[in-house]
């Protein structure tokens, strides 16, 4: 079988110890559920010598709770499976529960964590492969090489954000808490991701995402998640999207639409403000599909025909919007 490189696994018992371990061991990587990093390590994608295992932080970071303001707080060590089953999440954030239930398969959902999913490394068919395979290809920008096999002449890595929870949490205006040895900071999730496939978040090497905060208002928004995948389980998204609507009777008070599995940064579709006040109907759903189509350009970083993915994106958006409206 494929072998793991020689690694030292550090086992901190608290968030403070964990970020200290990250600081003290430059290049260390975080091991939460391990569902993504373990195969990537076997593929030789990281040169790291240290893993900081977070299992010891479970008591600290595994919670679903409502704070005094009514916001929902999710600990980063919640498993994907428990979020998909949580009655609180299902009733308040049905799109998030839906996204969780569509991640990977049952065993992987039990291992994988919310924090791990949000910090999931970007993926590309040209890089998530064995070292041998990448050597035969001639390597690429993301690891060991200088060329991009997706964008001819490309200088910036476009490996794709492939996390299913990200579009939902973006559409619901979630925020994240980040801890480092220097203290903690919070920011809206929309500021968390950057358009760089090498490292698509603002996290510094010694920072840890510890919590997701979803505003109380999210629970009142009509919402839907959709995932395009080539088989019904154990598949990363070929496209995923989430829509959140505030309705005033039959009229749209606000709308946000996030689409991902395109490039390094999950995209929030821009310029939807003019749709406020429109009736939430089939025409509105069509219009959102058109705008997503205009702004989203799928690439060959995901091994599913980009032309087709772009072609059917408006259909997927329209159906998701209609589902959200129907509640």
């Amino acid at each position: 079988m494929m072998t793991l490189p020689d690694l030292t696994v550090l086992r901190p018992a608290s968030v403070a110890e964990a970020v200290e371990a990250l600081r003290a061991n430059p290049g260390a990587r975080v091991l939460a559920g391990g569902t993504d990093i373990v195969p990537n390590l076997k593929y030789g994608m990281y040169d790291t010598q240290h893993l900081v295992a977070l299992r010891g932080l479970s008591s600290e970071l595994r919670y679903v709770r409502e704070d005094r303001s009514g916001d929902l707080r999710l600990g980063a060590m919640c498993s994907i499976d428990e979020l998909g089953r949580s009655e609180v999440v299902k009733s308040r954030l049905p799109a998030l529960a839906d996204a969780c239930r569509q991640i990977a398969g049952p065993q992987l959902r039990r291992m994988g964590t919310l924090g791990g999913n949000l910090c999931l490394d970007t993926r590309c068919v040209y890089v998530n492969q064995s070292h041998f395979w990448r050597s035969a290809l001639g390597y690429c920008l993301k690891k060991d090489g200088t060329v991009c096999h997706v964008v001819a002449g490309g200088k910036r890595c476009v490996a794709a954000a492939s996390n299913d929870t990200a579009p939902v949490l973006l559409a619901l205006d979630a925020g994240v808490k980040i801890v480092s040895p220097r203290g903690e900071r919070t920011m809206p999730l929309r500021d968390f991701y950057v358009a760089d496939g090498l490292h698509n978040t603002v996290l510094a090497p010694d920072e840890l995402l510890t919590e997701v905060r979803i505003p109380a208002a999210a629970a009142t928004r009509r919402q839907a998640f959709a995932k395009l995948r080539m088989r019904a389980a154990i598949d990363f998204p070929a496209l995923n999207l989430a829509v959140a609507l505030e309705l005033d009777g039959n009229l749209v008070r606000s709308v946000s639409l996030a689409v991902s599995a395109l490039a390094a940064r999950p995209a929030l579709i821009k310029g939807l403000e003019d749709l406020r006040g429109r009736p939430a109907d089939a025409r509105f759903a069509e219009e959102l599909g058109r705008r997503a189509h205009k702004q989203c350009k799928p690439l060959t970083n995901i091994g599913v025909d980009p032309g087709w993915r772009r072609d059917i994106l408006p259909v997927l958006v329209r159906r998701a919007v209609l589902r959200a409206i129907a509640g």
């Binding site: 072998t3 398969g105 064995s130 041998f132 050597s135 389980a233 032309g307 059917i312 259909v315 997927l316």
Partner: protein
């Protein structure tokens, strides 16, 4: 009695609870782990291999290069064209170059990174068309002409005349993509050399006998000093029916070091070992007369073989020879080229050689029937070839339950009420097929039995069956227990099966061409019947007592042997014996699909599959084979394809990127067993392991047509392909409306 009973699988619990011993479970004292260095180039000359740095790495014990094992091997004696490790050049990305044995896998892996190979990269060909066009780029020196592994041209009757006089003619090109087997157990082999120089190799193979022969030849040691044992196997499907690099490497390294050596392939290496379904391009002409009868079939087939022959010679024949039932052909011609290309070698995958032309033919038949306004079930019924008849190419069909199969799936699916009436986006499709129950001639010419069984009785009442056959999940070991119980009247749980061990068991040629149940079944029945006679004569209140009395009467321990002797069969022409089988199985499917016309995404909702297996020796096992086959066929229709880049690099050699359906992607399956009781088969049995795969693919294609009026002639039926065809259909409809 025991035959026909739903007897549980003999190794079922051990497989389910993890106690079964697979090749990788074998760990011997002082065992080394070896890894194979593979070529990053599709075609290159090896100018030199520098192993010095790797050999200097602590923990590395031995290295091996191709020059140490230069003899070429292969199951088919006429096309032996591969070596364990590349001798002068590499022929595909992933071709084996060198092998390193070390104290553990990680050290061996690290050592691979230290090997320096000096390659002179050569021009390469990646499609059969390019291989034909560029004979100067010689992929494999074994080819006498250009890059042709095998060319077959056979004609039966005046095809062109029949086409000219036909009422409906379809001329279309069909393309079948290459797919691979994906056994859940990757290939694994362990070798050990004992103090007397005897070599034992445990291997996850489905052909211990051929591995035995080839190990002896390539290693230069007598066959009597080589023992091959097949442990429990985690799936094969044809993907373990060649000798592979790892078996030679562990053996040679064990000989060099005196220590046991193991190689377990990674999933990626299984993809490079391949031997999967050949991609085929098929130019089909199918002609029906005014009565809807098949007047002519003409098929030009271009086969993409990859870098080595494997069973490719047989593939080139099977692609044509196995199409001539269950329907009667008035005239028939096929012309097939199996080409070498710089890709991992194709070989036999479940339904070897005939799944691809069956797809093309069954869709073409629907297209032709449509021209005549004939119902797809009716056209198949009308062309039924019958029982105990000879096909146009000289194959002797014995029992034939195809009509019964067709009737069952027609009724079960509600065909008459539902076909053509399910409305847009939902449809039904039908297809039929035929397959062999073993081949009449052994792969290497010889007069010995193809299969042998030895049965021994103990005074305790324990029965031991020694059988060379490979249980690859089809359940032959279970059938042996049932046959013993049937003939000897013993408890099937009191039977020990010693299987697939070349020192201990009589020869069986291997688990391929759906020969095992048929041939081993006959051999086992013969051996058991000899003993049963003695037990009857001896009498006794219990089985054990009968054994004791019989042994006393005999004055020696009780044992008997049985064999399957090859029959002379087949047409009287060159190649006429290839595809000649002692009995043929028949299958019919109806598939129901739904199609989302806005996205092209479609789904198989349900498949009704009826299979004539002659006699179900164990209905549960037969149903399992039908279901597994239908799953595998539907998988190829839906999503499976070996995709290469322009330099011959296989895209995504992993189970994440090479998708196989999960249980959620699998349709509801209804299996029906039809028993035609074949006079030649053991208790009337014929094959059930490969035939039931065939109709799934064309039945799905025909159902997609019923659902939305498009003809999909290329696999897999990716949603983007379906959507493109839907848009072309819409454009045609608009044009028609405008004019």
């Amino acid at each position: 009695m025991s035959i026909g009973a739903r007897f549980p699988k003999q190794d079922g619990v051990a497989k389910a609870d993890g106690s079964g011993i697979y090749a990788d479970d074998i760990a011997l004292p002082r065992m080394l782990h070896a890894k194979i260095l593979r070529s990053p180039h599709a075609h290159a000359r090896i100018r030199g291999i520098d192993l010095s740095a790797a050999e200097a790495l602590p923990g590395v014990v031995a290295t091996l290069v191709g020059a140490e094992l230069p003899l070429k091997y292969g199951v088919i004696p006429w096309t032996q064209d591969e070596t364990a490790l590349a001798v002068e050049k590499v022929r595909h990305v992933g071709d084996a170059v060198a092998c390193i044995a070390a104290v553990d896998e990680r050290t061996a892996d690290e050592a691979l990174g230290l090997v320096k190979v000096d390659y002179e990269v050569l021009p390469a060909v990646f499609t059969p068309e390019d291989a034909l066009e560029h004979p100067e780029i010689k992929v494999n020196e074994r080819a006498k002409v250009g890059n042709i592994t095998k060319h077959v041209h056979l004609q039966f009757g005046e095809v062109d005349e029949a086409v000219a006089g036909a009422a409906a003619v379809v001329r279309e090109t069909y393309r079948y993509a290459g797919s691979t087997h994906v056994p859940i157990e990757p290939h694994c082999a362990v070798a050990r050399i004992d103090a007397d120089g005897n070599l034992t190799v445990w291997s996850s193979t489905q052909i211990p006998h051929y591995v035995h022969r080839e190990l002896s030849r390539v290693l230069g040691i007598p066959q009597s000093k080589v023992r091959v044992i097949q442990p429990l196997l985690g799936g094969a499907f044809g993907g373990k029916s060649d000798p592979f690099a790892l078996e030679f490497c562990v053996a040679k390294l064990a000989m060099k070091t005196g220590r046991p050596v193991k190689i377990l392939y990674t999933r990626e290496e299984v993809f490079y070992a391949h031997r999967g379904r050949h991609p085929m391009k098929m130019d089909v002409t199918l002609a029906l007369d005014a009565g809807g009868r098949i007047a002519a079939v003409d098929n030009k087939i271009l086969i993409d073989g990859g870098a080595y022959a494997s069973f490719g010679l047989v593939t080139a024949y099977y692609a044509g020879q196995l199409l001539t039932g269950p329907y009667r052909f008035e005239t028939y011609r096929f012309d097939s080229y199996r080409m070498y290309t710089n890709k991992p070698p194709c070989g036999p995958k479940r339904g070897h050689g005939s799944v691809q032309p069956r797809f093309a033919f069954e869709v073409a038949l629907d297209e032709a029937a449509e021209k005549l306004g004939l119902d797809p079930v009716e056209v198949r019924r009308r062309n039924f070839i019958g029982e105990f008849v000879e096909t146009v190419n000289g194959q002797k069909i014995t029992s034939n339950g195809f009509l019964k199969c067709l009737e069952l799936v027609e009724k079960a699916s509600g065909w008459k009420e539902r076909h053509g009436k399910l409305g847009p986006g939902r449809g039904l499709g039908v297809a039929g097929s035929m397959y062999i129950s073993g081949t009449a001639y052994p792969v290497y010419p010889n007069e010995m039995p193809q299969s042998g069984v030895l049965v021994k009785l103990d005074r305790s009442g324990r029965v031991a069956i020694f059988s060379g056959a490979s249980d690859i999940g089809q359940g032959v070991n279970t059938l042996l227990c049932q046959i013993a119980a049937e003939e000897l009247h013993c408890d099937p749980y009191d039977v020990t099966v010693v299987a697939a061990d070349t020192d201990l068991t009589p020869v069986d040629l291997g688990a391929y061409s759906s020969r095992v149940t048929f041939m081993v079944g006959i051999a086992a029945r013969e051996a058991c019947q000899k003993l049963a006679e003695k037990l009857r004569a001896a009498g006794g209140a219990t089985f054990a007592e009968a054994c004791q009395r019989a042994e006393a009467a005999e004055g020696a321990p009780l044992a008997a042997v049985g064999g399957y002797r090859t029959q002379k069969l087949g047409g009287d022409y060159r190649g006429g014996t290839i595809g000649a089988s002692p009995a043929y199985s028949f299958t019919a499917h109806v598939a129901e699909v739904s199609v989302d016309e806005e996205t092209g995404i479609w789904k198989v909702e349900r498949i009704w599959a009826a299979h004539d297996c002659g006699k179900a020796l164990n209905p549960t096992l037969v149903e399992g084979q039908i279901e597994g086959s239908v799953y595998m066929g539907a998988a190829e229709a839906q999503m499976e394809e070996m995709v290469y880049d322009e330099k011959g690099l296989l895209f995504g050699p992993s189970l994440l990127d090479y998708r196989i359906p999960t249980s959620l992607d699998t349709p509801d399956l209804d299996s029906y067993i039809v028993e035609s009781n074949d006079p030649g088969g053991p208790y009337g049995a014929k094959e059930a392991g490969e035939g039931p795969l065939h109709p799934a693919i064309p039945a799905i294609a025909n159902a997609i047509h019923d659902a939305c009026g498009i003809r999909i002639r290329e696999l897999p039926f990716y949603p983007q392909r379906v959507l493109k065809l839907l848009r072309e259909r819409d454009a045609r409809r608009e044009e028609r409306a405008a004019s």
